[in-house]
């Protein structure tokens, strides 16, 4: 099985500071991997590197077998923050069509509207089709952005803390939705999350990132290590225990 995302000895610098160093791991096609670790551990930077938004300083990073940023249409992205201006007249249907066109639609054709409706149906959000983004709740916004990420039929989905800022009920509903989508197709996905529940329910593998890959493997193996679970989901205890299965990059 080929890799949807493959990092080999990857290094990334931000503002003159090395944020990622010697990162190596692979996410196979059809696999849902969780990217965990403490705040500031480089999780979002890794996603941004995969999207071609930040330069790779060393090593290699391949996205669907190509350089980052070169297969944009095949990569769906759900950002952590939604910076859309409140002054911008963004309807849900426009945002989804824009993701397919790579440009904001002045006019939406009947065919595009139907495509937007069908992708919204995948996230149980059909009723939101003509709503303005600025009027949506946090949970509704996450659904719309997930639909937007799915709009171009991606092969790889990058999700950056999709349940951050969503209430408990919204979080549970969103995880169920994601589970359904992941089971219903052979889409590969990388889920950045601080939610242990999300990792245990959705991920077939966990990559524990703290500037480098500190551990990887099935959730049961990685998260049952007290050091990993505590620092990824609540604290910052980075010291791996003696004998833990972990990966040292150098």
């Amino acid at each position: 099985m080929s890799a949807a995302l493959a990092a080999r000895e990857l290094s990334v610098d931000l503002g003159g500071r090395r944020v990622l160093e010697g990162v190596s791991f692979e996410v196979a096609e059809g696999e849902l991997a969780a990217l965990c670790g403490p705040n500031g551990g480089g999780k979002t930077t890794l996603l941004r590197a995969a999207l071609g938004l930040v330069e790779v300083a060393g090593g290699t990073l391949e996205v669907l077998g190509a350089r980052p940023g070169t297969r944009a249409a095949a990569v769906g992205y759900l950002p952590q923050t939604k910076p859309a201006s409140s002054a911008f007249p963004a309807r849900v249907v426009d945002a989804i069509v824009a993701a397919r066109r790579g440009a904001w639609p002045l006019v939406v054709s009947a065919r595009e509207r139907e495509l937007a409706r069908s992708v919204l149906a995948r996230v149980s959000g059909e009723r939101l089709l003509d709503s303005l983004l600025r009027g949506l709740s946090g949970g509704e916004l996450q659904r719309v952005y997930l639909a937007r990420a799915l709009a171009s039929d991606p092969k790889l989905l990058l999700l950056d803390e999709p349940t951050a800022g969503v209430d408990e009920q919204g979080r549970v509903e969103f995880l169920e939705l994601l589970q359904g989508i992941a089971e219903g197709c052979d889409l590969a996905a990388v889920l950045v999350t601080h939610s242990e529940d999300a990792v245990r329910r959705l991920a077939s593998r966990v990559v524990y990132l703290d500037r480098t890959v500190r551990a990887w493997g099935p959730p049961a193996e990685v998260l049952d290590r007290q050091w990993a679970a505590s620092s990824a989901f609540s604290g910052h205890d980075h010291a791996p225990p003696a004998g833990a299965r972990y990966y040292e990059s150098d």
Binding site: L51, G52, L53, G69, A72, V75, Y77, P79, K82, P83, A84, S85, A87, F88, P89, A90, R91, D94, A95, A98, A99, R101, G102, A103, W104, P105, L106, V107, L132
Partner: protein, 277 residues
Amino acid sequence: MDGLVELVASPLGQAFVRRALGAGMALGAAGALVGVFVVQRGLGLVADGLAHATFGGLALGLLVGATPDRAVWVALPFTLLVALGIQQLRRRTSLGGDAATGVFFAVSFAAGVLFLGLRAPRAAPVNVEALLFGSLLAVSPEALAVTALVSALVVGMLLAVGPRLAYATFDPELARISGVPVAALESLLLALTALVVVVGVRTVGVVLVSAFVVIPAATALLVGRTLGGILALSLATGLVGTAAGLFASYHLNVAPGATIILTLGALFSLALALRRR
């Protein structure tokens, strides 16, 4: 009905009113369309800053011996450079758009005052009031041609890049991931704004020109729900406000620039009252 026709037909019998209407409509259309993107990006003050920079550019043109009409050709590159300077300052420092604009605004205007003072004692006198408040009814055929040409260029460029510019306005990061050249489009938007402002200063003056960019767009944003609808509403507001204001100023025998801006202000108030709550 006949009275209304007469209200419009009688001023149009005068060549200078036809030129003023042509220049005002061209400026109203270009300002209204570029304004939608400017206002959505929170850059409304940039238009005002660029107007003051244009004063510096026109004064520089007068200093090197150009006539007021020809000084536009000095003011154009001068204001474009200021626009790019504002963008670079925003991009390379932690200063926001308002601070970056404020710096260039003051320095350019001060330079303009200095340039006017440095002119030879025997140089033709400059009507500073016309620079500050405009002289729409004194638009020459040459100024009308320049205004129409620049406005057509701005509208054409916006039609070409508008959808991608809008995507970059909605979310710069998502647009960049989709391959939209976000930084280049922002430079282009500032350059187009600078073009509108420079030709606008010659007709409605430094103080009032930013209203042509900001008020129609703000009016449309209050009531529009889609980008296409907002662009159409902004365009209609700019054109109707300009024509109505000009005809009103003719019959009331008051300053046309100020009357147009007040008419645009009245349309904004109407939209404010009509907006969905």
